[in-house]
C-alpha cells in the first residue's frame, strides 16, 4: 500500500462533489456566528466616530455620557493607550514602506471620517449608542487630503508630519532598454485605467466578543476572522499578554473575502475594554460603521502603454500607477501589497520580455485600504487585457488570435517572468482553446455581427489571467509579520473508529471543512461520515495561517493528507500486531482493515481503536500505539503556486441608457487538483460575481471633504440576483508537484478575471459606436458619457 499517493487511493474522495458536512446547520438557521454568542455579564461597546476626515481632537467631555442609563465606562484614546499599545503597518520586504503609529483610539487627531475616537460600554448596544450621542468632542478641522492624485503635491497638507510627506511607498521595476523597444515598435497603444475604490460588504459585519478572566489571566476572543492564530499573536502583543494566555475562537463567519483577514482598531479597542472591565464586551459593527471602517480596496489610477508589432507580437508593457491607501498602512499585512502584486504580475501570462512598472502608494484621509479578495489581480488583469485588446484592434487582429500568439506556451515551463515570478506549470493555451470551444466563439461573433446590423450592440470579452496562490513565507513572513505560511493538521482515531481532524485553516463558507475531510478520509481510507473537522480555535488547532491568498485547500489540504497518511501507517501497525501480519500487506478501505492483495476484510477500524485505547494490555510491552498525528506543510520548491485561467463574457449594452445586460459568462480555470468540483465551481461563480460588482456597481464615492457619500447598503450597490448571469465553469488540471495533493488555490480566480473581461466585452460592444470605457465601475452614466450622449 505505501508508495501509493493520495491520487491512487481506493475509494478516493478527491475529485468528488460531496456535500459539505457543515452546510446543514447553516440551512437550518443553526449557524454559530459571533453575534449569536452571548456570555454572562456581557456588555456592549459602541464608538463615537469622527464626523470629519481630518480633525484635531481638542477636548473630549465624557461626563454626560458617563451619567447616561446603563453606561459602564467611557474610554478615550489616552486611557486606551495604557492597555493597548500602538502598531505600525510596515513590512521589511516592502523596502521603504512607511506608516505612522496607529492607536486603538487616536489621541491627537482623527484621520478619516468614521474613525473610532471614543468608546462607550453599556448594558445594551442601544444604551451605548444613546451615550455616544452625549459625548462632546471639540474638533479643530484640518486640511483634508482626499484626491490621491494630489497627495504628493507640494501644496498638499502632509497628514503625518513625522513622515515628511504623504508617500507611503514607491516601487519601480524596469527591464533594460525598454524605451528603445517602444521607440522602434510598429504600434504603441496607450490607455488610462481607473479602478473604483470599493469594499467587501460581508453580509455578516465584523463581529467580536472579548472576555477577560483576570483570575487566570486568560483572554478569550470570539472573532469573525480568517486568521485566528495571527489575531492571537497580535492581541497578545498589544495587550501585553503571552500568546498562550490568549485564545481566539472563530465560529461560523458570515463572509470574509479578505475583509476579515486584517486587524482593526475598534477590535483591539473592544479587547482592551474587556481587559479594563474584566467582563465580556461585544462589538458588532453596524452597517454604517462597516462602510467607513472595513478596509477598502482597489483605488488605483494607472496610465499604461503597450508596444506591439504589426504581426501581433506583444513587445513591451509600461505603466505608471498611483493608489491612495488612506491615512495608515494597515497592520500587519500593510497597504503596499496590492500595488506590489500589480508590479509583480502585470502581463506575466504573455511572453513579453520588456516591462516597466512604477507605483506610488500615497496617504490620504479616507478609510484605510488593504487586501481584499484577489488582491491586485482584478487591476493587473484589466490593465493587461485592456491593453491587449487595444493592441489587437490597432493592428486589426482578432482578440483570440493575439492571445494565442503571445500567451506562454504550455510546454515552456518551468519559467520565470520578467519580475522573477517562478511559474511551475501553467496552461494558458489549453485553457484558451477550451473556452473558445465552450462559448462557440465563431458562432457568437456571427451572431454579434448580425445583431449589430439591427442596432443591437453586443460585446464579447476575453481575459486571461494568472493568480498567485499557496504563498510561502515570501508573502508576509519574511517581512516580519506574525503570519504563518505553513499550516498544520492533527488527526486522531478515537476508540470507536472515528476520525477527528484539527486544522489551522479556517472556514468562511468556501468549504474548507469539506475539503479537509475529503482529503483526510481519502488518505486514511475511511468514509466521510466518520470524520469530524475542527477549525478556528487557537487552543485546539495546530498553528496555521488561516484562510487567505487561496491557500486553505492547497496548504491546509496537504497537511491533512500527510497527517492522514501517517495516521494510517500507525493504525496499520496496531492492526498488524493484532492480526499478526505485516503492516505492509494491510490497508484501510471504507473503515475496515483489509488485505492489500485481495481486499479481504480483516478487522474494523473501531476494533483497532478499542484495543489501542482500552486493551493496550493485549499489545506487546515494547509497543506503544500513537493514534494521533500532526503534520505541517509549507510549499518549498516554489514561493507561490501560480494558477491560471481565462474568462469570457457576452453582454449587451443599451446605447440609449448605458445599461449593460450580462448574457453569459464562461470561466476555464486551472487550480491543479480539483478536490471538490462543486465547491471549486461555486467559489469561482461567487468570485466572478464579486468581480462583476467592481466592474458594474461598486464604488465608495467621496466628497472633496473626504466624506463617504454612499456608505450604506441602499446607495452602495452590489450585484443582486436579478442582474447576474449564469456562469459556466470548466477546468484544466495542472497539478503542482510541490505537494502530493497537487492542489493550488481557486478562491480568487473569479474575482481576478471578471472586471477585465467585462470591460473588454463592453468595449467590444461599443466599438462600432467609437466609444471606450476604462473607468470602473462602468455605470450607465459613464457609458453614456463615453458615447458623448451626456
Amino acid at each position: 500500500m505505501s508508495g501509493l499517493t493520495i491520487h491512487d487511493r481506493p475509494n478516493s474522495y478527491i475529485g468528488r462533489s460531496v456535500s459539505r458536512p457543515n452546510i446543514r446547520r447553516l440551512v437550518e438557521g443553526k449557524g454559530r456566528f459571533t453575534d449569536d454568542m452571548s456570555l454572562p455579564r456581557m456588555l456592549f461597546a459602541a464608538f463615537l466616530r469622527s464626523p470629519y476626515a481630518h480633525a484635531e481632537i481638542v477636548t473630549i467631555d465624557t461626563s454626560a455620557a458617563e451619567a447616561a442609563p446603563g453606561v459602564v465606562r467611557v474610554v478615550t484614546g489616552k486611557e486606551m493607550a495604557d492597555v493597548c499599545s500602538p502598531w505600525i503597518g510596515v513590512l521589511s520586504h516592502l523596502e521603504g514602506l512607511k506608516s505612522q503609529p496607529q492607536y486603538a483610539l487616536p489621541i491627537e487627531k482623527a484621520t478619516w471620517q468614521g474613525e473610532a475616537v471614543v468608546a462607550v460600554v453599556a448594558e445594551t448596544r442601544a444604551q451605548a449608542e444613546d451615550a455616544v450621542e452625549l459625548v462632546e468632542v471639540e474638533w479643530n478641522e484640518l486640511p483634508v487630503v482626499a484626491d490621491m492624485e494630489m497627495a504628493l503635491d507640494e501644496a498638499t497638507h502632509v497628514i503625518h508630519s513625522d513622515l515628511g510627506d504623504n508617500l507611503a511607498w514607491q516601487r519601480e521595476f524596469a527591464t533594460d532598454g525598454i524605451d528603445a523597444v517602444f521607440e522602434a515598435a510598429d504600434q504603441v497603444v496607450e490607455e488610462t485605467f481607473h479602478f473604483g475604490r470599493h469594499t467587501g460588504v460581508t453580509l455578516e459585519a465584523r463581529s467580536i466578543l472579548s472576555d477577560y478572566d483576570s483570575s487566570e489571566e486568560q483572554l478569550t476572543v470570539y472573532l469573525a476572522t480568517q486568521t485566528p492564530h495571527m489575531m492571537q499573536t497580535l492581541f497578545a502583543k498589544h495587550m501585553g499578554l503571552e500568546d498562550h494566555r490568549v485564545r481566539v475562537i472563530s465560529g461560523d463567519v458570515g463572509g470574509a473575502f479578505g475583509i476579515k483577514v486584517h486587524s482593526y482598531a475598534d477590535e483591539y479597542a473592544t479587547v482592551a475594554l474587556s481587559i479594563m472591565l474584566k467582563r465580556p464586551v461585544k462589538f458588532i459593527a453596524d452597517r454604517l460603521e462597516s462602510f467607513t471602517n472595513d478596509i477598502h480596496a482597489r483605488d488605483h489610477r494607472i496610465t499604461a502603454r503597450m508596444a506591439v508589432s504589426q504581426d501581433g507580437e506583444i513587445q513591451a508593457i509600461d505603466y505608471d500607477d498611483v493608489t491612495g491607501v488612506g491615512p495608515y498602512s494597515v497592520y500587519p499585512r500593510t497597504s503596499g501589497i496590492e500595488a506590489n502584486q500589480v508590479v509583480n504580475m502585470t502581463g506575466a501570462q504573455y511572453a513579453c520580455p520588456n516591462y516597466r512598472a512604477r507605483t506610488n502608494v500615497v496617504f490620504q484621509n479616507k478609510t484605510p485600504m488593504c487586501q481584499y479578495r484577489a488582491v491586485g489581480h482584478p487591476i493587473l488583469t484589466a490593465l493587461t487585457e485592456g491593453l491587449v485588446d487595444k493592441a489587437a484592434d490597432a493592428i486589426g487582429m482578432d482578440p483570440v488570435d493575439i492571445r494565442r500568439k503571445n500567451l506562454l506556451p504550455d510546454d515552456s515551463y518551468p519559467r520565470k517572468s520578467p519580475t522573477g515570478m517562478l511559474f511551475e506549470q501553467l496552461s494558458h493555451q489549453e485553457s484558451l482553446e477550451k473556452i473558445v470551444q465552450m462559448m462557440d466563439y465563431e458562432m457568437l461573433r456571427k451572431e454579434q455581427g448580425k445583431l449589430r446590423d439591427q442596432g443591437v450592440y453586443r460585446g464579447i470579452g476575453i481575459a486571461t489571467f494568472i493568480e498567485v496562490t499557496n504563498p510561502s513565507a515570501m508573502f508576509y513572513g519574511i517581512g516580519g509579520a506574525p503570519i504563518s505560511a505553513q499550516d498544520g493538521a492533527t488527526i486522531r482515531l478515537d476508540a470507536k473508529g472515528n476520525i477527528i481532524v484539527q486544522t489551522g485553516v479556517t472556514e468562511q463558507g468556501q468549504g474548507t471543512e469539506a475539503v479537509i475531510a475529503q482529503v483526510a478520509a481519502t488518505a486514511l481510507g475511511v468514509t466521510m461520515d466518520k470524520i469530524k473537522v475542527l477549525t478556528g480555535d487557537t487552543d485546539i488547532t495546530p498553528c496555521g495561517g488561516g484562510t487567505w491568498a487561496s491557500r486553505a485547500a492547497g496548504v491546509g489540504g496537504e497537511a491533512a493528507a500527510q497527517a492522514g497518511h501517517a495516521l494510517r501507517q500507525r493504525i496499520l501497525e496496531v492492526a498488524a500486531i493484532m492480526l499478526q501480519a505485516d503492516a505492509g500487506t494491510l490497508d484501510i478501505q471504507e473503515n475496515v482493515i483489509v488485505d492489500v492483495a485481495d481486499g479481504r476484510e480483516r478487522i474494523s477500524l473501531a476494533e483497532v481503536g478499542r484495543v489501542a485505547y482500552y486493551r493496550p494490555d493485549t499489545l506487546p510491552k515494547d509497543f506503544q500505539s500513537e493514534l494521533m498525528v500532526t503534520r505541517h506543510y509549507v510549499p518549498k520548491d516554489y514561493p507561490f503556486a501560480f494558477t491560471n485561467g481565462v474568462q469570457a463574457s457576452y453582454l449587451e449594452v443599451d446605447p440609449a441608457t448605458g445599461i449593460v445586460t450580462l448574457l453569459n459568462h464562461w470561466v476555464v480555470e486551472d487550480c491543479g487538483t480539483v478536490i471538490n468540483p462543486q465547491l471549486v465551481d461555486e467559489q469561482i461563480r461567487g468570485g466572478v460575481v464579486q468581480g462583476i460588482g467592481g466592474a458594474l456597481y461598486e464604488e465608495c464615492l467621496y466628497s472633496p471633504e473626504g466624506q463617504l457619500l454612499n456608505g450604506n447598503m441602499a446607495d452602495y450597490l452590489v450585484p443582486m440576483a436579478g442582474e447576474m448571469p449564469d456562469i459556466q465553469v470548466a477546468h484544466v488540471e495542472s497539478r503542482t508537484a510541490d505537494s502530493e495533493l497537487g492542489a493550488k488555490g481557486a478562491g480568487e480566480a473569479g474575482t481576478a478575471g471578471a472586471p477585465g473581461v467585462i470591460m473588454n466585452a463592453i468595449n467590444d460592444a461599443l466599438k462600432p459606436l467609437n466609444a471606450r470605457v476604462t473607468r470602473q465601475p462602468f455605470t450607465p452614466e459613464r457609458i453614456l458619457q463615453a458615447l458623448k450622449t451626456v
Binding site: 459539505r20 440551512v27 460581508t202 455578516e204 461567487g686 447576474m724
Partner: protein, 161 residues
Amino acid sequence: MDKAVQVSMSVNSEAVNRTVEPRQSLADFIRNELELTGTHVGCEHGVCGACTVRLDGQIVRGCLTLAVQADGCTVETIEGLTESGEIADLQNAFVTRNAAQCGFCTPGMLLTAAELLAADPGASREEIRKHISGNYCRCTGYQAVVDAIESTARNRLGEAS
C-alpha cells in the same frame, strides 16, 4: 416616555409573552430575547433581507418591524420552518446544490424563496431571480441559489401533477 410594553404573540407555534422596549426591532427581539439566532441582521436598514421572518404568514423585514408591532401576531422564523418540515425539500436542495456558502444570507433567502414556491411553483428562472432580488448574497453569486429554488419548484410541480 419610552416605557416598556407588554406583548404576546405566537412564535413558531409557541406562545410568547414578554415586556419589550418599543425601540426593539422584531429581529433583535427574536435573536436576543427568544435566542432564535437563525434570523440574522445584516444592515438594519431594510436592504439586505438577512432578517427576513414571517409575520402573519407573510415575509417581512425583521429589522424594519418593531417587536411591539408583532403583538397578537403569528411569527415564524427559520427555526420554526425547519421544525415543521415545511421547507425540508428546499433545504435539501440548498444542501445538495451548495446554495449556501457562509450561510449568513441563507435563512432569509429560504424564507423569501418559500413564499414564491408557495405562490407560484411554476416560476421561471427569471422570476425566481426577481423574487430574491431583495436578498443579498455576497458569497454564491446567486446561481446555486436559483438552481436550488428552481429544482424544488419543479419537484413540487411534478408531485402535484
